[in-house]
Amino acid sequence: MHDAWIVKHRPRSAKEVVGNRRAIEIFERWLRSWEHAIPTQRAAFLHGPPGIGKTVIVEALAQDLGAELIERNASDYRTEEKIRQVAGFASQYMGFFGKNRIILLDEMDGVYGTVDRGAIPAITEIIKNTRYPIVLIANDFWNKKFVSFRDKKKFLIIEFKKPSVNDIFKHLKKICVKESLPADDDALRFLAQRSQGDVRSGVNDLQALGQGKKRLLFSDVSWLAYRDRKDVIFSVLRQVLYSKSCKAAKQMVDLADVDIDMLFEWIYENLPYHFNIPSELAAAMEALATADLYRGRIRQTQNWKLMRYVIDFMTAGVAMARRKSKPSGWVPFRFPQRIRTLSTSRAERKKKSEIGKKIKQRMHVSVGVANKDVLPFLKIIFESDPSMAAGLAGWFNFNEEEIIYVAGGKRQANAILSSVAN
């Protein structure tokens, strides 16, 4: 009775897992295929947001299939040496009872990206030779440290999605029955919605609010604080963009408990859609630029008290720019594109600087000059003349990835690569 409900009501078999039927099916089929022979995909990579049962499904299927589950977590494999110790052996030798075995490397997000001292290469190495299925789990599959797992030939990649509100609602209802806690459907539906697909947090909320109650009413749940998720941002945005007073615009930031830098990005992304008169758009952008100026000053001086002016200008400043501007019709709020672009282009920028260093060695210029005055011309050559490009690639000592980058894509690079091979 002392167990937290998320433990107590953890699914014991695959059937009990909420949502993601198709993903579970694919995963189960893959696990079962090991009974016949070792498949070409020796590892599965399950990814998706927290709290939707990724770990749970592995445990449940191990149970269902009667397999021994060897479970390891990030803290166990930060280094190459450790990973070999914990997973290398298990992947090769049989246990005592000749049982089947599943090796689970959970919470891969916790593996250090840059300082992992070879943990990820070691994992890939173990996967290459494993005799038992290996399952990797992470929230953010697109993190660049997982780049080596993106090869679909070698890895079964399964995305887990958020279960529907209805699925979670049903799950919560089941728990209420087991706990003998009568509950209003409204209350449960509210909790289901609020969880935003995070089943675990839904169960947690249910315990926090319901435990010890005779009956769970809508009024018991509605007061509960929101976790910081999009709808909070949306209401702040609306207030910031349409407030009539400085106080109202500023207040939301204090009340809503959101990350200021993130909010700034949201405002920057969405502001232009909500001002249709050029002079007012200019004034609003000006206010934002002023806020940004103070962000820069904070960075430079490390004096955080200046944050108050960032907030003034990004909220009150933006709001006060409005005289008559209205959006043309209903405009949905958009996720900040800049964040997305920046994160997708990070790897590219790193590649560029590597290339710059190679140019520098050959041409007696700085990396900066190389990227500004040499690389653009090199790109044209690589796009237009494969044989000259092949020669230059050799001269600069570019590797395959770098050739593809300079050529502007795999397709364009093919001619160069084959010419290099000859």
């Binding site: 167990d3 803290s75 997000d109 916790g110 435990q211 010890g212």
Partner: protein, 322 residues
């Protein structure tokens, strides 16, 4: 002058002594009743009773031996991954002897933990969930990783309403046999907002002067200028009386022992309470911000404060002119 801190002396010991955060207290009491506590996040501004609530919960749960079943850690003190890895594990590993099969670990300022430390914490929470429940205390829950948030029941603490804070202070006043005037009470609220701990500390400092406590005492003790004075000074400046405004400013600096940079902060607050058009407020914020930044860069305080007042006077001209 007693050396005991009133903030400690008057801290509630049991949940039922907590006068504020009713809904949260009620939920916590139900945890006690059912002998089951999930991992929790207590989020909210300083002085809203987060730590107090956690301690009361433990007290109610374990009774007088609660100290043995409870551990407080400050994440920002010994920040980083090692706290989590080692101290926490050691504590969580040892089983409790009493009726309740788990211990409680309070992790203060959890939002100051690095991302790595939080990742490690996430794992520890999971592994020791049977023997240890975590209460993470944070100002902003947004700074806590989602996978951890999703493992915790969230509670948001809010500032005490004015009346409740007043009641609290009045109780202390009565007990300590001091005199607190109404304007002193107002000043404390003005300075401390709903931060109860800060309010009690200020009260104690003011009391140490041994005189009836009025607003002037409070402001002088906390080294803040009286908002009414700041307000008046801004108005005088915006009415065009530059020299008088400057005189007032200097008086405030001497009278309250305030640093120029602190005066700027107060001007910033007061400015949004002025009865002037809203867009003018943004403009004034720009002026204040500029001067504030100059001071940060090391410009002369005296010169810059004059410049600030001058800009306010000019803004006043414009306002009336346009």
């Amino acid at each position: 002058m007693s050396s005991e801190m009133w903030a400690e002396k008057y801290r509630p010991k049991f949940l039922k002594q907590m006068v504020d955060q009713k809904e949260i207290v009620e939920r916590l009491e139900s945890f006690v009743k059912s002998h089951n506590v999930p991992h929790c996040i207590f989020a909210g501004p300083p002085g809203t009773g987060k730590t107090t609530a956690a301690l009361c919960l433990a007290h109610d749960l374990y009774g007088e031996t609660y100290r043995e079943n409870l551990m407080e850690l400050n994440a920002s003190d010994e920040r980083g991954i090692n706290v989590v890895r080692q101290t926490v594990k050691t504590f969580a590993r040892v089983r409790t002897l009493g009726e309740i099969p788990f211990k409680i670990l309070i992790l203060d300022e959890a939002d100051n933990m690095t991302g790595d430390a939080q990742q490690a914490l996430r794992r520890t929470m999971e592994r020791y969930t049977e023997t240890c429940r975590f209460i993470l205390i944070a100002n902003y829950s947004g700074k806590i990783l989602e996978p951890i948030q999703s493992r915790c029941a969230p509670f948001r603490f809010t500032y005490l309403p004015r009346e409740e804070q007043d009641e609290y202070l009045k109780r202390i006043v009565k007990n300590e046999n001091i005199v607190l005037q109404q304007d002193g009470l107002d000043a404390i609220y003005e300075v401390c907002g709903g931060d109860l701990r800060k309010a009690i500390n200020s009260l104690q400092a003011a009391a140490s002067l041994g005189k009836p406590i009025g607003s002037e005492t409070v402001y002088s003790v906390v080294g803040r200028a009286n908002p009414a004075d700041v307000h008046a000074m801004i108005k005088i400046a915006m009415d065009g009386n530059f020299l008088e405004a400057r005189k007032r400013l200097r008086e405030m600096i001497v009278k309250y022992g305030v640093a120029g940079s602190d005066i700027i902060k107060q001007i910033h607050i007061e400015l949004f309470r002025l009865e002037i058009p809203e867009n003018l407020k943004v403009k004034l914020a720009g002026i204040v911000g500029e001067v504030d930044f100059r001071l940060v860069e090391g410009a002369s305080e005296e010169v810059q404060l004059s410049a600030l007042l001058a800009r306010l006077v000019e803004a006043g001209y414009e306002f009336k002119g346009g």
